[in-house]
């Protein structure tokens, strides 16, 4: 059976989830730090928009993305006209779908992480003459790191498992846009149950070990820097 399996979906899934996780990690930190530290008019609305993909059906997210990035969409047309670059039916579409659905998880974890330590620690660092940038990397980031790492793992796992929005935006093109969840669906559709079982096993194993490792790491670090 193994000879018949095309491993492209595994590499594509790792590539799209990997790229989206890196992007989501930094944007999630940036936005959550800003939102936690600043009060401004309409803050609740902005937060609700950030978390919306968490509660919307993936097909709705996919529809919205198609609306934006499709050939006649606002962003899609701009990219096509000026850069001859297309998002729909390419693996870039899978990355964008993955970013949108995993962002709320990273954002939520990062927000909780930046709220859980005493703000006076940052203030103390500022009084010692350090710039906000230095204070962020030497105080805020290390103290929030366990929560940020949890967000990173959750975002990666979510990105890896993304199906609905990916199908709407990137479609199913074998050896181009077939991530593991898509490969499972179309393997079942065409009666290739062995292939479907194989990919299900891979996804379950990846998710399971990600959570197992995270729990082990958290338990180890919680005892190291107790306050």
């Amino acid at each position: 059976m193994m000879e018949q399996i095309n491993f492209f979906p595994l590499w594509l899934s790792l590539k799209t989830a990997g790229i989206s996780t890196v992007i989501v990690f930094f944007t999630g930190i940036l936005f959550s730090y800003f939102i936690v530290r600043r009060d401004f008019w309409g803050k609740s609305v902005v937060e609700a928009i950030f978390l919306l993909p968490l509660v919307l059906p993936p097909t709705v997210v996919g529809f919205g993305l198609l609306y934006l990035f499709g050939k006649n969409g606002i962003i899609g047309r701009f990219l096509n006209d000026y850069f001859e670059f297309q998002i729909v039916f390419t693996w870039y579409g899978a990355v964008i779908a993955s970013i949108v659905v995993s962002f709320p998880l990273m954002y939520q974890s990062a927000t909780a992480a930046f709220k859980q330590y005493d703000r006076n620690l940052e203030k103390a660092a500022l009084t010692m003459g350090k710039s906000r940038w230095v204070v962020f990397w030497t105080v805020s980031f290390p103290l929030a790191w366990p929560g940020l790492l949890a967000g990173l793992v959750l975002a990666f796992a979510r990105g890896l498992g993304e199906f609905g929005a990916t199908l709407m935006l990137a479609g199913y093109i074998p050896n181009v846009t077939d991530t593991i969840p898509l490969a499972i669906y179309f393997a079942v559709e065409s009666g290739k149950m062995d292939e479907a079982k194989f990919w299900v096993g891979i996804i379950v194993a990846l998710g399971f070990f990600a959570i197992l490792w995270l729990n082990w790491w958290s338990a180890r670090n919680m005892t190291k820097h107790r306050r």
Partner: protein, 206 residues
Amino acid sequence: MLTVHIKKRLSHFMLNVQFTIKKEIAVLFGPSGSGKTTILNCIAGLSKMNDGCIKLNDRILNQNGKVLIPVQERKIGYLFQDYALFPHKTVWENIVYGMKQEKFTRNLVDELNLTHLLNQYPHEISGGEKQRTALIRALATEPEILLLDEPFSALDAKTKQTSYEQLLRMQKRWKIPIILVTHNLEEVNLLADKVFYIENGVLVEN
């Protein structure tokens, strides 16, 4: 010398204080929630004010309420009530965070008897040791003023006595303005060169 005039709207009252202190220990004394910590935060540049002026030696820190010199450049040593030691850094890493000169800092560490604790983390040391670590960390930046926000409140009676003596010794040698926030009358009697009694945001004649 520190000249302070702060006007700041707080949730229940208007903070409106004006005072000057020289190279001495000034105690801000009064009930909880009367605006004492807010005054320290305004001097440190951590809180905005609506109006007023703060001048430290020849530098104007705030004018007409606006921040002229940001917190990082104020040369202020601030000891927070809970000490605000970085939990992920050792005692020594905490101390050197804003350190100017290592030799001078090492002398302070010796003098305040912290040498044997330098590799410990804050959660591994006692309240008195945390307080000394925070004091050295603030002094290691070689500040022009020291702000102390109830630094003795979490200490036992014996440690408090030692800490009082250390503070008086430091002040004698250092000769910078020190503002101590407290609601402990014993600290007022033992440490204060000058006392400001504050209630509902205004200074009350004592």
